[in-house]
């Protein structure tokens, strides 16, 4: 087994029960270094690191910040995305439990870089304890003039508010999240304009995932060179992987994106039963099969947010395809016509699977829906939500045939 690299992002134990001590010893090295640089120098350092967003879409962070800096509008916002709604994902929770100040520090650096005056941390509904921890830390930071007016005597004003949202998967989509922060339905907007031009309250906004922001603090502290020594080109830096499903020791593993699925499974104590496949980046991601076990989990190979849900050969692919289809059907908002109609059809195809004469037409129709959504839907939910089922059909036709001709003992269904 390959040795597991020493953790940097998750080196701390949870801080809730020793919060004051953690606060008093937090060095703010990254912030000190940033304040000695100009905004353009900070962006150059972040670009040199190659850091890409950890929320799923892997957009280069330096480019996003630069775009906000270039906007003529005087009011800008910084938003930390801690919605963490993808099933199987809990890495942002772990980071906020272990090193919440790294996220706050990165937000202050972002504000200094683009001259934003207000920031929001949007939290998953169930993160009550984290909300309290953050509120306490923010109050201490205000007392110490690390937040608020004339911050650190540097003549810039910045404050952060914490919002724990109601539970809704779609709220993690950036434009939907802005609507939730504005007190509205978390329904996405069309792009362009992009959030960097018109985001929260239609003002230029930096929105980054919690793990991405945690990496920002590390880059400024340790340097972009150090960051690029971890992981391959285009996939630099430490990465958290959440591994669950048919696995002996489910949890968060910190590694780099040169790790393979086999490495992760071994580090997590091995699969329970015989490995059949894994959904990488969760149900909205891509399907890894036994032949993919040694592929590195890079951005190009679909690492996405780093979620890995393993399933063994006792699982029926039809049950998984149905489950995934139902999930996205329940969570889509129905706002745009392609999304609304296609999700209805995708669900109907899966519900009526046993009445299909053969797999080929079903596979073709489901695939067509996915392509249509890729080209015409308003946000990524319905298109990414219709990718996994056709991949399962392609990989495990025998499971589908069983359902169509005779019934499935695993699912307990009979024709």
């Amino acid at each position: 087994m390959k040795p597991l690299p020493a953790p940097v992002l998750t080196a701390n134990a949870p801080v809730a029960d020793r919060l004051r001590e953690y606060y008093l010893h937090y060095p703010f090295h990254a912030l000190q270094k940033a304040l000695a640089l100009s905004p353009h120098e900070i962006i150059a350092e972040l670009k040199a690191s190659g850091l890409r967003g950890r929320g799923g879409a892997a957009y280069p962070l330096g480019r996003k910040w630069e775009c906000v800096l270039q906007q003529p509008a005087p009011v800008r916002y910084i938003v930390a995305n801690g919605e963490e709604g993808e099933p199987g994902t809990f890495k942002d929770r772990v980071l906020l439990e272990r090193n919440p100040l790294a996220v706050i520090e990165a937000m202050i650096i972002a504000a200094y870089t683009v001259r934003a005056r207000a920031g929001y941390i949007y939290l998953n509904h169930s993160y009550r304890q984290i909300e309290q921890t953050l509120q306490t830390l923010l109050a201490w930071l205000r007392e110490d003039q690390r937040l608020g007016n004339n911050l650190l005597k540097r003549q810039f004003d910045f404050d952060i508010q914490v919002r724990r949202g109601p539970s809704r998967y779609l709220s993690g989509e950036e434009t939907a999240l802005f609507h939730a922060l504005e007190g509205r339905r978390a329904e996405p907007s069309s792009r362009p304009p992009y959030p960097t031009e018109q985001g929260l309250w239609r003002k230029p906004t930096i929105i980054n995932n919690i793990e991405t922001l945690s990496c920002v603090a590390l880059i400024l502290e340790k340097g972009s060179k150090w960051f690029t020594t971890l992981g391959p080109v285009n996939s630099h830096g430490p990465k958290l992987f959440c591994i669950t499903g048919d696995i002996k020791n489910p949890g968060v593993i910190e590694a780099a994106m040169d790790a393979s699925l086999r490495d992760l499974i071994e580090w997590a104590g091995g699969a329970i039963g015989d490995f059949k496949g894994a959904m990488v980046s969760g149900p909205s991601g891509c399907l890894f099969l036994p032949d993919d076990l040694d592929k590195p989990l890079t951005v190009q190979n679909g690492c996405g947010n780093g979620t890995v849900v393993v399933f063994n050969d006792t699982r029926c692919a039809v049950d998984l395809a149905r489950h995934v289809t139902d999930f996205f059907f329940t969570e889509h908002c129905g706002q745009c016509l392609p999304g609304r109609e296609s999700m209805k059809q995708a669900k109907s195809l899966m519900d009526n699977l046993e009445h299909q004469p053969s797999l080929a037409p079903l596979q073709q129709r489901y695939g067509e829906l996915h392509t249509l959504l890729l080209n015409s839907s308003k946000c990524g939910l319905c298109s990414s939500g219709t990718a996994m089922a056709p991949a399962l059909m392609q990989a495990f036709p025998a499971d589908f045939d069983r359902h169509m001709h005779g019934g499935c003992a695993v699912c307990g269904s009979a024709v």
């Binding site: 963490e84 709604g85 993808e86 099933p87 199987g88 994902t89 809990f90 929770r93 998953n124 169930s126 993160y127 009550r128 919002r163 724990r164 949202g165 109601p166 539970s167 809704r168 998967y169 939730a180 504005e182 007190g183 509205r184 339905r185 978390a186 329904e187 959440c242 669950t244 499903g245 048919d246 489910p250 949890g251 968060v252 959904m279 969760g282 149900p283 849900v309 399933f311 699982r315 489950h323 995934v324 999930f327 329940t330 969570e331 908002c333």
Partner: protein, 151 residues
């Protein structure tokens, strides 16, 4: 639940329609539901129409009830929990407690809601009782926890 207390809570958001969700979460923390009596007050204080308020509350599936819910159980049905028999947990709880999923019981005391990921996936199947994670390894013990919360 006194109207006075409700009024006090809602009035802190007066004139701030963008704080509708902040308010809704505050009410959920306190009453585990949005009290029916809050709706008219929300309209008056936040300056929103009944339709605007209902459209937001229903989008997020907030329960609206006359009295506070004593026990709000959330059972995750999403992928990692699905692979760990979340369906069986839900069935067991509903059967044992004579409840229907996503419906407040007739006495108004209990809501067993199906939710999509509580971000406790490494401890699947995940169940939260009044916002706190409870292990679902022993289903009878889980039922007893809920009964204790209802007592």
């Amino acid at each position: 639940m006194t109207t006075q207390t409700l009024e006090q809570i809602i009035s802190t958001h007066a004139g701030k329609p963008d704080e509708l969700l902040v308010l809704a979460e505050q009410l959920m923390d306190r009453y585990r539901a949005i009290p029916t009596a809050a709706l008219a007050l929300m309209q008056q204080q936040l300056g929103l129409t009944a339709t605007e308020i209902q459209s937001v509350l229903s989008f997020y599936h907030y329960p609206v009830t006359d009295a506070p819910i004593k026990c709000h159980v959330e059972v995750c049905r999403a992928l990692s929990c699905h692979l760990k028999s979340a369906d069986a947990v839900l069935r067991h709880l509903c059967d044992a407690l004579d409840a229907l999923p996503d419906q407040v019981t007739e006495d108004g005391q209990l809501l067993i809601a199906r939710v999509d990921c509580l971000s406790d996936c490494e401890r699947a199947p995940a169940v939260h009782i009044n916002g706190e994670y409870v292990a679902a390894t022993d289903l009878d013990a889980l039922v007893q926890r809920i009964q204790a919360a209802l007592a």
